[in-house]
């Protein structure tokens, strides 16, 4: 009975978080893709939208996959603990991916000298 409550809260928070982070990265990352494509706005927007879609698919998929082996929730304390454990791990994975992407942009931009100079 408590598991259903945990799933509801988890899915609501996760979906909103994934949507919000995706929108922020979509908006702020556009200028970097624009630089990599040397100002070609049309292919930049295409690539940006496709990347956003792929991001949504992968992350919602993974978040829903993790519902399968959730521990049996018996009390409020266990509810908070398991919820924050799952959410924390998901957000940590998002963080690692995000820093990996920043690093990727940095290394790609080393070929094009017009990023920092």
């Amino acid at each position: 009975m408590n598991n259903v409550l945990a799933y509801t809260i988890y899915i609501a928070i996760t979906l909103y978080l994934i949507y919000w982070i995706g929108r922020m990265c979509h908006r702020n990352g556009r200028i970097f893709i624009l630089k990599l494509y040397r100002g070609d706005a049309e292919s930049t927007d295409t690539i940006n939208n496709i990347l956003l879609l792929a991001y949504y698919l992968f992350n919602t998929g993974y978040a829903l996959l993790r519902l399968k082996n959730w521990e049996h929730v018996l009390s409020v304390a266990q509810l908070v603990a398991s919820l924050s454990h799952h959410l924390g791990l998901l957000i940590l994975i998002l963080a690692v991916t995000h820093y990996f992407n920043i690093g990727l942009i940095y290394f790609l931009s080393k070929r094009h000298h017009h990023f920092t100079s």
């Binding site: 200028i31 970097f32 630089k35 908070v80 603990a81 998002l94």
Partner: protein
């Protein structure tokens, strides 16, 4: 585990969550309000790309630290009194605070490194230009 112990754990969780999230918000707020100066310097005064990079780093900082704060929330030892609750809570908050300090210095190191690299690159570019195209007066 009876109901009293569970109540202590729930109180500890609901004290820990606002403290950890508020601390993360405060550190990120003061770090990224000041880092915009570095960003403008690194990107040679170009406002748009400096703001975008600053926002991306701020998202990364929030994700990493809130994720870690939620991940370490679970208290494993049984809490039987107010004293043990305060001890467990302060151990968690103190550990998280030290972790936040390390993250803060890591980000500062990144900003200073970026600033140094950009300065070297700019200098090399200037030297190269002067060497290859000497002005008419030289």
């Amino acid at each position: 585990m009876n109901t009293e112990h569970i109540a202590y754990i729930v109180i500890a969780y609901f004290c820990y969550l606002p403290i950890a999230l508020g601390l993360t918000w405060y550190v990120a707020h003061s770090l990224f309000r000041n880092s915009i100066v570095f960003m403008k310097d690194i990107f040679n005064g170009r406002e748009e790309i400096a703001l975008a990079t600053n926002t991306l780093f701020r998202i990364g900082f929030y994700l990493l630290n809130i994720g870690f704060a939620l991940y370490i929330l679970k208290i494993r030892e049984p809490l039987s009194s107010t004293q043990t609750t305060i001890e467990a809570l302060s151990f968690k908050v103190g550990g998280f605070s030290i972790y936040l300090g390390i993250m803060l210095f890591l980000n500062l190191y990144l900003f200073f490194r970026g600033k140094r690299v950009a300065k070297q690159k700019r200098l090399g570019y200037e030297m190269n230009k002067r060497y290859n195209n000497p002005g008419p007066q030289q």
